[in-house]
């Protein structure tokens, strides 16, 4: 098949111009490119094409210039995606493995039900971030958000690590999300910047970070800082709080038997 839009830069690097490609056409080209040993793909003129990075279970790096559409990296199993711009809704939906780095902001339901992998967002995210993230033994998803998030952050969270840095909050300004961690029954959240008690779900507790927490936090903030050109020390040199589930079984007492 003659491939328009696809330019081979070297043996392992391919450039794709997504200008006139539909979602399905773009994903066909991505599958073909990754099936022959390509290690890096650069996507230009991306205008909302969906599901980029799904069905590619290879350690390929995809750099996106433009705005990828919904479900970026849905069910993703391995690739690394760098977005030079903003991402839309459903980024990292049920992701299993890999990394998504967004040099901008992202829409709603980022990291929904993620089972593994890492997502870094330089700026803020929309509603319902990190809902029902999971973990099993050493497989833990990580979601790091540079600015703030909207309501239902970490609702029903069952595992993983969610870090909210609030880097653009003005002095005295609190995070905006309400219903943070409602129904949370696993995993942990680290928040930099303040929240009011009424913003928190009834099933979570608040505490200081212990040594183990600080080590995790440091590791992922350092990765975040390296991706986006911050100094990790500047970010970490600030009070963090830890949000954790009070119960493994938050709804165990609802029933007559």
């Amino acid at each position: 098949m003659v491939q328009t839009n696809v330019t081979k830069k070297s043996n392992s690097v391919v450039e794709i111009d997504a200008q006139d490609l539909l979602t399905r056409e773009l994903n066909i080209r991505l599958r073909e490119a990754t099936s022959n040993g390509t290690r890096k793909i650069e996507l230009y003129n991306v205008y909302g094409q969906r599901y980029i990075g799904t069905d590619l279970n290879k350690p390929v790096e995809i750099e996106i210039f433009g705005t990828p559409g919904n479900d970026l990296g849905a069910f993703m199993d391995g690739p690394k995606i760098i977005v030079r711009g903003n991402a839309q809704d459903g980024c990292g939906n049920t992701m299993n493995e890999g990394e998504i780095i967004i040099h901008g902001h992202a829409g709603d339901v980022i990291g929904l039900s993620a089972r593994g992998g890492k997502i870094f967002v330089k700026e803020g995210v929309g509603y319902r971030a990190g809902i029902h993230m999971k973990e099993y033994e050493d497989k833990k998803p990580v979601l790091v958000i540079g600015d703030t998030a909207q309501d239902f952050l970490g609702e029903y969270m069952a595992g993983g690590i969610l870090i909210l840095l609030g880097l653009n909050l003005r002095p005295g300004e609190t995070h905006r999300a309400n219903y943070i961690g409602t129904g949370m029954h696993g995993g942990v959240m680290y928040l930099r910047g303040s929240v009011n008690d009424f913003q928190l779900g009834k099933e979570i507790g608040v505490s200081e970070l212990d040594e183990n927490d600080s080590a995790h936090l440091k590791r992922y903030v350092e990765e975040f800082a390296a991706h986006f050109g911050y100094k990790a020390g500047d970010i970490l040199n600030h009070k963090f709080i830890k949000l954790f589930p009070l119960y493994l079984r938050p709804y165990g007492r609802l029933y007559a038997y």
Binding site: T23, R24, N27, R31, R50, Y51, T54, D55, N57, N70, D71, A74, F75, D77, D89, G90, N93, T94, N96, V109, L112, S113, R115, R128, I131, H132, K134, E135, Y136, K139, F152, E155, Y156, A158, G159, G183, H185, G186, L248, R249, P250, Y251, G252, R253, L254, Y255, A256, Y257
Partner: protein, 501 residues
């Protein structure tokens, strides 16, 4: 607190037959029978009895009879014993009443008011013993028209992915965690033998069962348990579960005590935590969002398998289904009022949703009116009891039928409705390792495959009697049905004429 609840059942032990062997003591998982060594006698704690009949079936001398407790309240049509006892339970616990299986109330079962046709004189019936009779069914999106290359006698139209069933009866979604691995293995093996499909439910697919992938439907539900690339790749069909007939609109809570090491591994959550499935899928708040997930799954599997979407039968399910077809669903699953569950609040199970017969008829009518019936296969579930129900459902417009409760009954279930306790004495709906051994997959698969074989012979007899030789000719053929004892409105919605007319 002293309970005011009387025992539901009485355990009668015929002392002339009882040999104090204690089989009943070992078989009962509800602690009813116990052995009094001092008196050398087996006795009963009747208050614990759930009426599952495990002991009676396994008693080697037939000494045990389980009866309903005849203790009768003063007669009252409104305040029936069940109503009184439910209130007592709630007064003593302050909790939501949980139950298992499907709605057991007296809402009309329309299958019983529908009868099938047969050929007499004017067209001959067909004897399926001497002529071929076709039950083969293909699930998946069908084209609006087919284009055939007449020279090569080949289909030119590119078909969407289709899945072949040798019998239009599949096993309904029952998740690992709700039922045991031995039950799932029995279902998977029977489906493979019978040429049909079983459904993982939303608890993931145990590594041991991947080899049955060609006969497996995998579910993607609001908890997204065990969903990953290999799981999607293994399946014949991927089903997005929006709702379930036993608890429309609700999620699920698999209690932590059922989340054993193996269940945790399959679901990819820590052992002992509750497996909570949220009410909605939080990436689906509209038909457009549903389309997004349908196509996410199609992209994730490179358009190689049909995507099914399952909803509970509710007031507007016909209109909703039209949206689902337009959102790219290749198979629509409707689960009716009597759809079953491993655990649901009783009030939802018995009061929410509409009868599957009405939902199916209105959905089929609606999709036909809109000219999109060919774009999706229709599968129904919820209380289908026998091949007669199956034939009637197909005549009302279904492509295939899911059976859940009937399949479990083949494995021994007596519908005692204690699934939510995790103590199933028949070893079906439990993760207790001692109890799960009671299902032997060799025997379980045999019993299930036998059931499907029996139904397929019966279906062929029904078709033959009508003078048709393929289930395709019955599908949506409502002239094959007549109603008895139904009102004009009911007949109108069912699209069926009154018997005699």
């Amino acid at each position: 607190m002293k309970t005011y609840l009387p025992p539901k059942f009485l355990v009668e032990r015929d002392q002339t037959r009882c040999i104090q062997c204690q089989v009943c003591v070992n078989q009962c998982s509800f602690d009813v029978h116990y052995y009094d060594a001092e008196d050398d006698e087996v006795r009963s704690r009747e208050a614990n009895c759930v009426g599952c009949h495990r002991c009676a079936v396994f008693c080697p001398t037939g000494a045990i009879t389980i009866r309903r407790n005849p203790m009768e309240y003063r007669e009252n049509y409104n305040w029936r014993p069940e109503v009184i006892e439910d209130i007592i339970k709630q007064a003593e616990t302050g909790g939501v009443l949980l139950t298992g299986m499907g709605d057991d109330k007296s809402q009309r079962i329309y299958w019983d008011y529908l009868v099938l046709n047969a050929s007499q004189v004017t067209n001959p019936s067909i004897d399926p013993l001497r002529e071929p009779m076709e039950l083969t069914t293909y699930l998946g999106r069908k084209p609006d028209a087919v284009d055939i290359d007449m020279n090569k006698m080949q289909l030119k139209t590119k078909m969407a992915p289709q899945v072949r069933l040798d019998i239009p009866v599949m096993f309904a979604a029952m998740s690992y965690g709700a039922v045991s691995i031995n039950v799932q293995e029995s279902l998977a093996r029977a489906a493979t033998e019978a040429g049909t499909l079983w459904n993982t439910g939303e608890g993931g697919l145990h590594p041991k069962l991947y080899k049955y992938g060609k006969n497996t439907i995998v579910q993607v539900a609001s908890g997204r348990f065990g969903v990953h690339q290999a799981y999607l790749d293994a399946a014949a069909v991927i089903e997005i579960k929006i709702g379930q007939g036993a608890k429309p609109g609700m999620g699920g809570h698999l209690p932590g005590e059922k989340v054993s090491a193996d269940v945790a591994m399959t679901r990819m959550i820590p052992k002992g935590t509750d497996a909570l499935s949220p009410f909605p899928q939080h990436d689906i708040y509209s038909i457009e969002d549903l389309a997004q997930l349908v196509y996410a799954l199609k992209e994730a599997t490179n358009y190689t398998k049909p995507i099914s979407v399952k909803i509970a039968a509710v007031h507007n399910s016909a209109a909703i289904a039209s949206g689902m077809v337009r959102a790219g669903a290749d198979i629509i699953v409707l689960d009716g009022l009597r759809g079953s569950t491993g655990a649901a609040p009783k009030v939802n199970r018995d009061n929410v949703g509409i009868p599957i017969e009405m939902a199916l008829a209105s959905l089929d009518t609606r999709l036909r009116q809109e000219g999109i019936r060919n774009q999706a296969s229709v599968v129904i579930s919820g209380g289908i009891r026998n091949s007669g129900d199956v034939a009637k459902a197909i005549a009302l417009g279904a492509d295939a039928i899911y059976i859940g409760t009937a399949a479990l009954m083949a494995l021994g279930c007596t519908c005692c409705q204690q699934c939510h306790t995790g103590k199933c004495a028949w070893g079906i709906c439990t993760s207790d390792l001692a109890l799960t051994k009671r299902i032997n997959p060799d025997i379980g698969a045999r019993r299930l495959a036998n059931l499907l074989r029996a139904w397929s012979i019966e279906l062929k007899d029904i078709l033959g009697g009508m003078g048709i030789n393929a289930v395709e000719s019955l599908r949506g053929n409502r002239l094959a049905l007549r109603g008895i004892g139904l009102t004009e409105t009911e007949l109108d919605i069912l699209g069926v004429r009154m018997a005699g007319g």
